[in-house]
């Protein structure tokens, strides 16, 4: 049994059980932190193993692939698991100052760990039906977290979130059924081999489109994103940070996995659709953000816009574009989770998230202002932060294949992103508070528990930005694996038949 594949899954599940039993006890929050810390160590161990071996696979219950459930980690899976663990750890610490006693009693920490388990499982599985099951684990945990406060806003946002996500789930399930009917297998590696032998390639494209729509809802691409801005600004800040960082990215990961490994039979059609979807997602997302005035709503629309860049990387399907997509995924999770955490601190200091009604943060809490500027500028793509390299690689990839219009859109959306970020900056940080409040960090409960995760994630952004070379090299290795899945297939199935 390959322990390094199962540990990143087993740890959050065990932590969830312990945290649930201790939910009425203040120790519960610390259980969650220690569990996330151990999960981080386990995912670092997995990363080390994968960096060395390239791809590792484990057959659960020792059923030989493709009959049993396979857990498999290539570089993409490993880096996603690692970044999930980092985000989880940061948010678990932040929760000390964010989660009320009542929310803890209702089982916040247990649900949070279950969510991490679901996300990690989705990254590690090598089986399409198993991916569905992990999606459900993730979904049900996220439903619980979303409506934990039980207020009108949460219920209202929750209804839309639940409804649209359930539709996507059913579509995913139907797609699984049809694909199984055509190929007789659901193992990713086996599918990659068998789809070529399918007689009716047109029908295969139909199924591919079903998966594209199903994962597109999860990833919140245009025109399927409406659940996201309806829900992400309603729950606790810890919850929206982990949602913003991880959930949509699972959809992007699933898109990348299926549309590089399985559905690469008709790139001319499927990836052209993805290209249009990506451009529209970027533009609509950033325009939506420009129209908002709530801190978290602005950020929510920016998630959508940034998802567009990642999908664009996949749609172009050149090596450089995929490097950009992978780099973007990693950078975006760190930055976006961080911005939501900062929104939480800003809310506690100033009493609101509506940017026109708050202010004065720069004067009285300059540390927070700097910590905001780093991820905000990174999101907009300022050098020398991580977002600059992510955007640079994507734009370079579009220029290389002479897609001037797409490059123009990507750059224009970057400019619009700066507009929204300066709106938050000018209103929430620079101008004086309309009620004359002087928000000071020293008045914050659990000040360090909130500032340390924010500072840690910001430091990571700066580190990637100043030192991009190893990360780009890593993304290049990942891309090589995605474009030539031979290693993936042989590791899962043994020798290719």
């Amino acid at each position: 049994m390959s322990w390094y594949l199962t540990l990143p899954l087993a740890i959050p599940f065990l932590t969830a059980i312990i945290a649930y039993l201790l939910r009425a006890n203040p120790v519960g929050a610390w259980v969650s932190i220690i569990g996330s810390g151990l999960g981080l160590l386990a995912s670092i161990a997995l990363m080390v193993v994968v960096l060395d071996a390239g791809v590792v696979a484990g057959q659960m219950g020792n059923w030989p692939a493709p009959f049993g459930i396979t857990l498999v980690a290539d570089l993409l899976s490993a880096v996603m698991v690692l970044i999930t663990a980092i985000t989880g750890f940061a948010v678990a610490i932040y929760a000390l100052g964010d989660i009320t006693e009542r929310q803890a009693k209702l089982g916040y920490h247990a649900l949070f760990q279950l969510l991490l388990a679901g996300v990690t499982g989705a990254f590690l599985t090598g089986d399409l039906f198993n991916l569905y099951v992990w999606f459900e684990v993730m979904l049900i945990a996220s439903f619980g977290l979303l409506i934990l406060n039980g207020g009108k806003e949460q219920i209202d946002g929750g209804v839309k979130y639940v409804a649209l996500n359930l539709i996507s789930t059913i579509l995913f399930l139907t797609g699984i059924g049809l694909l199984y009917g055509m190929t007789g297998t659901l193992n990713f590696a086996d599918l990659a081999l068998k789809v070529e032998g399918v007689e009716n390639q047109g029908l295969l494209t139909v199924v591919a489109m079903m998966f594209m729509v199903a994962f597109g809802v999860k990833a919140a691409v245009f025109p399927l994103f409406f659940w996201l801005p309806a829900a992400y600004h309603t729950p606790s800040f810890s919850v929206s940070a982990v949602f913003a960082g991880l959930l949509t990215k699972v959809g992007v990961y699933a898109l990348i996995r299926t549309f590089t490994l399985v559905f690469d039979h008709d790139i001319g059609f499927t990836h052209t659709v993805l290209l249009w979807v990506a451009c529209l997602t970027m533009v609509i997302g950033v325009l939506g953000a420009a129209a908002q005035s709530d801190f978290r709503k602005i950020l929510s629309f920016h998630i959508i816009s940034q998802i567009g860049y990642m999908v664009l990387g996949l749609a172009l399907m050149t090596p450089l574009a995929l490097v950009g997509a992978v780099f973007y995924l990693v950078h975006h999770i760190i930055v976006k989770a961080n911005l939501f955490l900062i929104a939480g601190i800003a809310k506690r200091l100033t009493g609101g998230t509506e940017v026109y009604q708050i202010g004065g943060l720069y004067k009285s809490a300059p540390l927070l202002a700097i910590l905001f500027l780093i991820p905000a500028f990174s999101l907009a793509g300022f050098p020398p932060l991580s977002g600059f390299w992510a955007k640079y690689i994507i734009v370079k990839a579009t220029l290389d294949i002479e897609m001037w219009f797409v490059a123009f859109i990507a750059l224009a959306v970057g400019l619009m992103t700066i507009y929204s970020m300066t709106k938050i900056w000018a209103e929430a940080f620079w101008k004086n508070h309309p009620d004359g409040i002087q928000p000071e960090l020293k008045n914050l409960d659990h000040k360090w528990a909130q500032l340390i995760p924010v500072a840690g994630l910001a430091a990571l952004t700066v580190f990637i930005g100043l030192n991009p070379e190893p990360f780009v090299q890593f993304a290049e290795r990942t891309t090589a694996q995605l474009l030539d899945p031979t290693a993936y297939i042989t590791t899962v199935l043994g020798e290719v038949r």
Binding site: K152, V159, T174, Y180, S293
Partner: protein, 120 residues
């Protein structure tokens, strides 16, 4: 048999879509459960139907003798039913809570999280 079940799936999907287009949240949920049943049937049919041949291994053999029904889709459907049931139970309670706290099941009137006029 396959044709008959395919038509049934079509009817289920059509009714589901009709119900889900209603503004009433409860109708939407009923549509959702029909749709999930259609998905389950799709998996079942996609696994090919072999009536009257249960997948049993006779004494003394390692594999079933002759053509038997495919057991895998049934396992998949069973998993999907259980998960779908759990999610539906949650969604039903959520709809009830929504009715209690928002006072309506009409989805057009659910604008608390996204008010028409931004409160500025």
């Amino acid at each position: 048999m396959e044709q008959l079940l395919s038509i049934l799936i079509g009817i289920l999907v059509a009714s589901a879509v009709y119900l889900m287009l209603a503004r009433n949240l409860l109708r939407f949920l009923f549509g959702l459960i029909l749709l999930s049943n259609a998905a389950n049937l799709t998996i079942f049919v996609a696994g090919r139907l072999t009536p009257g041949a249960p997948p049993l291994v006779p004494d003394g053999l390692d594999a079933p003798a002759g053509v038997v029904a495919n057991a895998l889709p049934q396992a998949l459907v069973l998993t999907a039913i259980v998960i779908g049931f759990g999610l539906f139970a949650f969604a039903l309670i959520l709809a009830f809570r929504a009715y209690q706290s928002l006072g309506t099941l009409n989805t057009d009137e659910m604008r608390v999280a996204e008010p028409k006029e931004p409160h500025s």
